[in-house]
Symmetry: C2
Subunit: 397 residues, 2 copies
């Protein structure tokens, strides 16, 4: 059984803060600061250009990728780190479309994170040849999969409501219809057990700054199923994905397997922070994380509904049907969230009326959450949010 | 007059090292370590998700972009940071092609860095419609520009020889023929005066880990000329380039001007290191940097040719015709470079026979270089490189 009191001691949580936004940006693993400082001083400072060989910078995207692989049920050698999630979505979707050339439809849903849809819009516009992006309701995906679909591209967990797609079932349906799948695991990796192998996903992508705690803007990951890895076309064909980057050939030749999904020079400093964050996951059972997350979210829903009847649950009530976040609606949600944050209870807000709260057992315990619930009840019931300064919009809301 | 003894004190150079590879990876600015540590502790650790507003993370790519803008002769508001140079090449070239829809040729040269050519190959293959990439010799570019050319895409300084293109003249020729230009400033920014405005460049891109000293894998930059910024199509249409990212619209609308060239979540930790590195440039005259670089490289060529006649100059002899690096050829160049590095003189090697040496007046002084020259002379003349361990190839060569 995972000892979460041990993992909580590995994170920094500011005094007075109840952090319920690890679904957006994970908390700071204490080791990350020292790891980055050591990387900067001992590797960049002392090794200089020799760091590419001596400090393992060149192989770092694969080495870190293997550590993420374990957390998403992928075999070693099938995941590589780099770029942002938007870029990895682009690579995965473009490669998937190319592997299914007779089809014209990219199917997604309105619960997908917008950047995935924007990238898909760009790809279909760029490729032309009659391709189109179809966006259906999340509940309608299963029925919308037909033999016109080239690629089913979904985010497993809805960023607003936490609604969880059934990756295994939808992938099976897609494959039966001759479609490939691209799964965005942004809100899945580190939140619960993910098994891309068992689900038979074709491509998967994700970020590492949410439940994996890699820091703001931490590098993304991409998984390519072994059956596709040697034939997938890397549409963003950067030199690090070349079969022999240091041959400096004038013509591109795709690297072996997942190597070809590398693009440019890897973000070495950011990967050092991420490596320290992944150390926390050593020996952690995602089954235990999921169980603890459900216990927290069930407590949260029960107490919010009991004490704050004005807040309306926007997430699935069945814990098996959601990820590791819970959202409530309120017409003054924005002001409520500003007031909560001023009191140290940090969640976030999504227009027009959604308050989001994330549950991260690695550093959020039962006592923390109960403290947060008392503040939420006080702020909501006593209308402490009803002040002009809480209605002023900030840049990022 | 810039006081380079003052700037040298702002960098860490390891004991016993003469660093002649700042053209590949810049040395560590001492302030970068503290800046990154403060960012991690005070911003990520304490602000958590609030950092996007309170610590200015959201506007950082533009704020840092403005500081790079000054160094490349671009007006404020025309440069944004993010991704890798490969990705920025892809964006710039794809946008430039779209702005010149009647033309079919992307013209580049064999002195371009391979990743630029690989990205161009991918773009022409993806877009189809008869587009082709033509790669000529660097000396033949001027004459190869004709009315078939949609985009002239060049790296200003040849990564192997240091040969410098005339950006102003080639851009003028391109424009006269109705072509647009994409300039890769990887080996230019921070090496000498660059003036994208005076040269009338349409797009420019570059990395920040060479002469700008941003650290391994530091974020790239992209410049779009004001006349194109509002009409360029951002083919990698990520949410950070959306007109209103936090509206979470289902449809992409390009942001205003250079904002649209943002893609995914910015690399906040890496940008903190880069900001510290750019502080060093405050008050520095690139005219002085260029003059000092030429003095160093002229001394270097003169002394190497005098003392090591087996080394054959591969760079232009005219300092006005090269960037801030000098290359020499030798059939045993690889072993020679390994032996030099073992003695603390760090340059690098490019197949098949090229030894590269970069000159970075911010942290390389005359006395350092003379010390390096003595070691080079000893290693070459006394064949100290002729040992089996110096012939063993490393991963990155």
């Amino acid at each position: 059984m995972t000892d979460f009191s041990r993992t909580r001691a590995l994170f920094h949580i500011p005094d007075g803060v109840v952090y319920l936004d690890g679904n957006s940006l994970g908390a700071l693993p204490l080791a990350a600061k020292a790891r980055v400082a050591a990387m900067i001083e001992a590797e960049w400072g002392e090794q200089l250009i020799r760091g590419w060989n001596n400090a393992g910078w060149m192989t770092q995207p694969r080495r870190v990728g293997d550590r993420v692989a374990r957390l998403i049920g992928a075999p070693p050698g099938t995941v590589v780190m780099g770029d942002t999630l938007s870029i990895k979505v682009y690579q995965a979707l473009a490669a998937a479309i190319a592997l299914n050339p007779g089809r014209r439809v990219v199917l997604s849903d309105s619960g997908n994170f917008p950047t995935d849809l924007y990238m898909a819009q760009s790809i279909v516009a760029t490729l032309g040849r009659g391709l189109e992006l179809k966006v259906c309701d999340p509940e309608a995906v299963q029925d919308a999969i037909d033999e016109s679909v080239a690629v089913l591209m979904l985010t497993e967990v809805d960023y607003r409501t936490g609604r969880l797609h059934d990756m295994t079932r939808l992938t099976r349906t897609a494959h039966a219809a001759g479609a490939l799948t691209v799964w965005d695991l942004a809100h899945s990796a580190g939140a619960f057990q993910v098994d891309v192998s068992a689900a038979d996903a074709d491509f998967a992508v994700g970020c590492t700054y949410k439940y994996l705690n890699g820091g703001p803007g931490a590098p993304a990951f991409i998984y390519v199923a072994p059956g596709h890895a040697e034939v997938a076309r890397p549409v963003l064909s950067g030199w690090m994905g070349h079969a022999a980057p240091f041959a400096f050939d004038l013509d591109y030749r795709a690297g072996a397997g997942i190597e070809r999904m590398r693009v440019g020079t890897p973000p070495v400093i950011a990967l050092a922070a991420l490596e320290a964050a992944l150390d926390v996951w050593d020996g952690i059972s995602l089954h235990d994380v999921r169980a603890a997350s459900i216990a927290l979210s069930e407590l949260f829903i029960r107490e919010v509904e009991r004490r704050c009847p004005d807040l309306v649950l926007a997430s699935p009530r069945d814990p098996a049907a959601r990820g590791s976040q819970v959202s409530f609606r309120h017409k003054d949600g924005y002001a409520i969230m500003r007031a909560l944050i001023a009191r140290g209870v940090i969640g976030d807000f999504r227009a027009p009326d959604m308050l989001r709260f994330g549950f991260t057992p690695l550093y959020l315990g039962d006592a923390d959450l109960r403290r947060g619930l008392d503040i939420i009840a006080d702020v909501v019931i006593n209308r402490r949010w009803d002040r002009p300064e809480y209605r002023t919009r900030e840049l990022v809301t």
